[in-house]
């Protein structure tokens, strides 16, 4: 009996020690080695949007300077773009080592678990991310990218060869959205809240955008004329591809452009060129037409009679800014409480009610979405395709609906704006909208085809304020909108010794570490679709 008990006890001890994982100290519950698709999706979306947007590490932080929507006192002012510039090293890093790597993981896990909706969304976002990367960097690591441990030093693939594969990727993504899926996204999808119809429409709108970008080097009329009549594109602003932010300060989930510009150091000045265009003072663009969106776009911290902290380089009434490419004596003066800053529409800053305060972080919500691909953008693309005679559409009518959609977007943002310490902003009235649109369309009707294209691209550029990557691509393809030239503006203290960068340099970190990537010269290289 005693013997038997001993055996049981011994057996019990062995069983216990083999089942009990108490001493398994190599498993760290705080650092799981396997992720789930829903947790990956959220961060992928956030990283993708932030590396394109107005965050200090986003491409728009640099490209909105080159598209003369804002001005910055930074090394990359005056087209002096370098591979060490923060938006370049950071967005490169975020694209490849976070967003695309997470997408690879979502595709792997999602295929294994038959979570086809996740797989489809990852493929669509991957195609979109690569399209933007080709558009700014040209030839990039594609086939060998994110294939570690097989290779740690991917070679460059030609942008021209990547584009067709992106269409395939989008089609596969759309097909996967149609499959029945073991898991479907919900609130983990920060962009569409799990609405797969919106993802499909986004994918098709990306296709339309890419065909349009190819139109100078390839006949795309068959594809475009098949795609538009389907009527399955981003159909109204509720289907816009944009990422909403919150108002929480800790952890900070506000719009990163708001964090960069509305707290502490203000990094963005409003471009004088953009200011004069919207206020009807730019002799070369829309001269004499005042844009009713001005108080929604930027905020004047000074009143018209207010005294700035330092002597102003550019002052017009309440507006204070500096010039692009300036070496003037007042360029570097401290103006953080005096300069005009990003307002409600681009980043969720303060609506300009003329109150002329220096807003702190409690004076504005900072939760306005980062727009990426919108309904109005789709309509401008269609207007461009029509004026280029790729489609039979009526470019004037499309331009008008695109402009109406642009105003509707501003009004949507105004309606959703949490006014904090000020009165709720008014809607732009139909009367003001009609006056503006009529004035623009009068110029449009009077112009030749080239001037018509200019007006379409200019309106798209104005509406895009807060997201400059597409404007940068549009400018290189079409030559419009007209942009500021610091060398011919009759100001002796503004100058750019380098030409406009037709491509961005690679991240210096990549060039240093990857023997297969040589740096490219931003003024001597072009993206394959750039036929100009």
């Amino acid at each position: 009996m005693n013997k038997l008990l001993t055996i049981y006890l011994l057996a019990g001890l062995f069983l216990m020690s083999s089942c009990n994982e108490f001493f398994d100290i190599n498993d760290d519950p705080n650092n799981p080695t396997e992720a789930s698709v829903d947790l990956l999706l959220t961060n992928t979306e956030l990283t993708l949007v932030n590396s394109l947007g107005m965050s200090t590490s986003g491409l728009s932080a640099m490209l909105s300077v080159y598209m003369h929507q804002v001005t910055r006192r930074q090394g990359f002012d005056a087209y002096n773009v370098l591979g060490t510039d923060f938006p370049i090293t950071q967005s490169w890093s975020q694209f490849y080592s976070i967003a695309l790597e997470d997408m690879r993981e979502i595709k792997n896990i999602g295929t294994e678990q038959e979570a086809w909706h996740y797989v489809g969304i990852a493929q669509i976002m991957e195609a979109y991310a690569y399209s933007q990367m080709v558009d700014v960097w040209g030839n990039i690591p594609f086939l060998e990218a994110n294939t570690s441990p097989d290779t740690f030093t991917p070679v460059l693939d030609e942008g021209e060869g990547i584009y067709p594969q992106l269409f395939t990727m989008l089609d596969e993504g759309i097909a996967n959205l149609e499959k029945s899926s073991s898991l479907s996204p919900g609130s983990d999808d920060l962009i569409y809240g799990g609405n797969v119809n919106n993802w499909r429409k986004f994918a098709k709108t990306v296709k339309l955008k890419l065909y349009n970008q190819l139109r100078l080097v390839q006949d795309v009329s068959t594809e475009v004329n098949a795609l538009i009549p389907e009527g399955d594109l981003i159909g109204d602003q509720s289907e816009d591809f944009e990422l909403a932010y919150g108002q929480t300060q800790s952890p900070d989930n506000r719009n990163p452009g708001f964090i960069a510009d509305n707290l502490g150091t203000r990094i963005y000045y409003i471009s004088v060129w953009f200011y004069e265009t919207l206020t009807g003072q730019n002799e070369e663009i829309l001269d004499g037409i005042t844009d009713p969106r001005v108080p929604y776009y930027w905020y004047n911290q000074l009143s018209e009679s207010g005294t700035p902290q330092s002597p102003a380089e550019y002052r017009d009434g309440a507006f204070l800014s500096i010039f692009f490419g300036s070496t003037g004596p007042n360029q570097a003066g401290l103006q953080d409480q005096s300069q005009t800053i990003l307002g409600m529409y681009p980043v969720g800053g303060r609506f300009d009610d003329g109150g002329a305060i220096a807003p702190t972080q409690t004076d504005a919500p900072g939760d306005i979405p980062q727009r990426i691909l919108t309904h109005y953008a789709r309509l401008y693309i269609e207007a461009e395709l029509a004026i280029a005679e790729v489609t039979n559409g009526d470019p004037g009518a499309l331009l008008e609906s695109a402009m109406r959609a642009s105003f509707a977007k501003v009004n949507e943002v105004a309606a959703n704006y949490d006014a904090k310490t000020q009165d709720a902003p008014p809607q732009i009235s139909d009367e003001d909208i009609d006056t503006y649109i009529t004035a623009v369309l009068t110029r449009y009707d009077a112009g030749d085809n080239d001037e018509k294209l200019e007006i379409i691209m200019t309106q798209k550029w104005i509406a895009s304020f807060g997201f400059a990557v597409d404007a940068y691509t549009d400018y290189r393809r079409t030559g419009y909108p007209l942009i500021y030239d610091p060398n011919t503006d009759n100001l002796s203290f503004t100058n750019a010794s380098k030409n406009f960068p037709t491509i961005l340099p690679y991240s210096a970190t990549e060039v240093e570490l990857n023997p297969n990537v040589q740096q490219q010269n931003p003024t001597q290289t072009k993206v394959f679709w750039d036929a100009n």
Partner: protein, 331 residues
């Protein structure tokens, strides 16, 4: 006299290898590489004077010279970072054929003969497309000399250190020169001409006159602009990284002390066994001849302390000078 020669080859260490981000990752932890270190250490003790009246002068000299060389790194890579610093700025790297932890960073554009290229619109430098080696933080050799002179109860001791070479990237000096707060750049309004040839910032190639010759730079710039440029191309603030690297050669009075021990005869009627008093001072004087003189910058400052990252300093706190009095009494 001690003499040591050593040769050591270390291989397959566990290292964090920074890999290209296009691989999907930033770092790979692996066993890799090999590195050799060889050098000599010499210790020499001399007593030039020893007299019967107890006067003694002793000199101890220590000499150290180390040559390190990276032999091998993981296959496929050209180099990797010792530490990832601020995205693409000056970075300590491990590269085959080079000493451990050399510094790479941005450099100014040059022609194929190594002449600086000048932006014709500003008269200043402009940045080259690719980065390059800009410094080696490892010193050529170190020398320490300790002199001890003792006479009766007095002891006078001084340690002099000499370091030959060893580069340092220092933002302290960069800021001081850029803001013009030291005498080094006092004549801020004077005009200077940067030696070099005119170049095209778009192509990075020298401009040629109608005979096909390079055009020497004759554009005057103010000293102020020379050290502070918003758009880069200066020698101070917003300079290319190479201009912020200085040679760290230093001679230093590391420590000096004077001590006195009471003679036994005076202690006979006191309850003490031994009484001595010493006044010491550390880091009393140094001279770094290749650092701008009036910045008084001490190249011994290191932003990353005793780590593998050497020769980089981001406006760190300066070194300290210390004095002490030491009274020692035994019963």
């Amino acid at each position: 006299m001690d003499f040591t020669y050593y040769y050591r080859e270390t291989s397959d260490q566990i290292v964090n290898v920074s890999v290209p981000e296009t691989s999907g990752f930033q770092q790979l932890v692996t066993n890799a590489g090999s590195i050799e270190n060889k050098g000599v250490e010499v210790g020499l003790n001399l007593v030039p004077i020893q007299l019967n009246n107890s006067l003694r002068w002793e000199i101890y000299t220590a000499f150290t010279r180390n040559r390190g060389k990276v032999l091998e790194i993981p296959e496929g890579l050209e180099r990797f970072n010792v530490r990832n610093l601020f995205g693409g700025g000056v970075t300590p790297v491990i590269e085959p054929g080079q000493p451990y932890g050399i510094l790479r960073g941005s450099v100014s554009a040059r022609d194929d003969e190594g002449n600086l290229l000048i932006d014709p619109s500003s008269g200043m430098l402009f940045e080259a497309l690719e980065q390059a080696k800009i410094g080696d933080p490892n010193p050529d050799f170190l020398l320490g000399v300790t002199n001890t002179i003792s006479f009766k109860g007095f002891t006078l001791r001084a340690l002099i250190d000499y370091r030959q070479g060893g580069d340092i990237y220092t933002t302290t000096v960069e800021r001081l020169l850029g803001r013009g707060v030291t005498k080094d750049t006092e004549d801020r309004d004077a005009s200077r001409i940067v030696p070099g040839f005119l170049g095209d910032p778009n192509t990075g190639l020298p401009l040629l006159d109608e005979d096909g010759n390079k055009i020497p730079n004759t554009i005057q710039v103010s000293t102020n602009d020379l050290y502070f440029q918003n758009g880069g191309g200066s020698f101070g603030i917003n300079a290319e990284d190479e201009w912020t690297v200085y040679d760290g050669t230093t001679i230093r009075l590391r420590e000096a002390s004077i001590g006195y021990t009471l003679p036994q005869s005076t202690l006979e009627n006191l309850p003490f066994g031994r009484v001595s008093i010493t006044i010491t001072g550390r880091n009393l004087w140094y001279n770094a001849p290749n650092i701008p003189k009036y910045t008084n910058f001490d190249p011994e400052v290191n932003g990353f302390g005793s780590t593998n990252t050497q020769g980089i300093e981001y406006a760190s706190a300066p070194t300290t000078r210390r004095y002490g009095i030491n009274l020692s009494v035994t019963f």
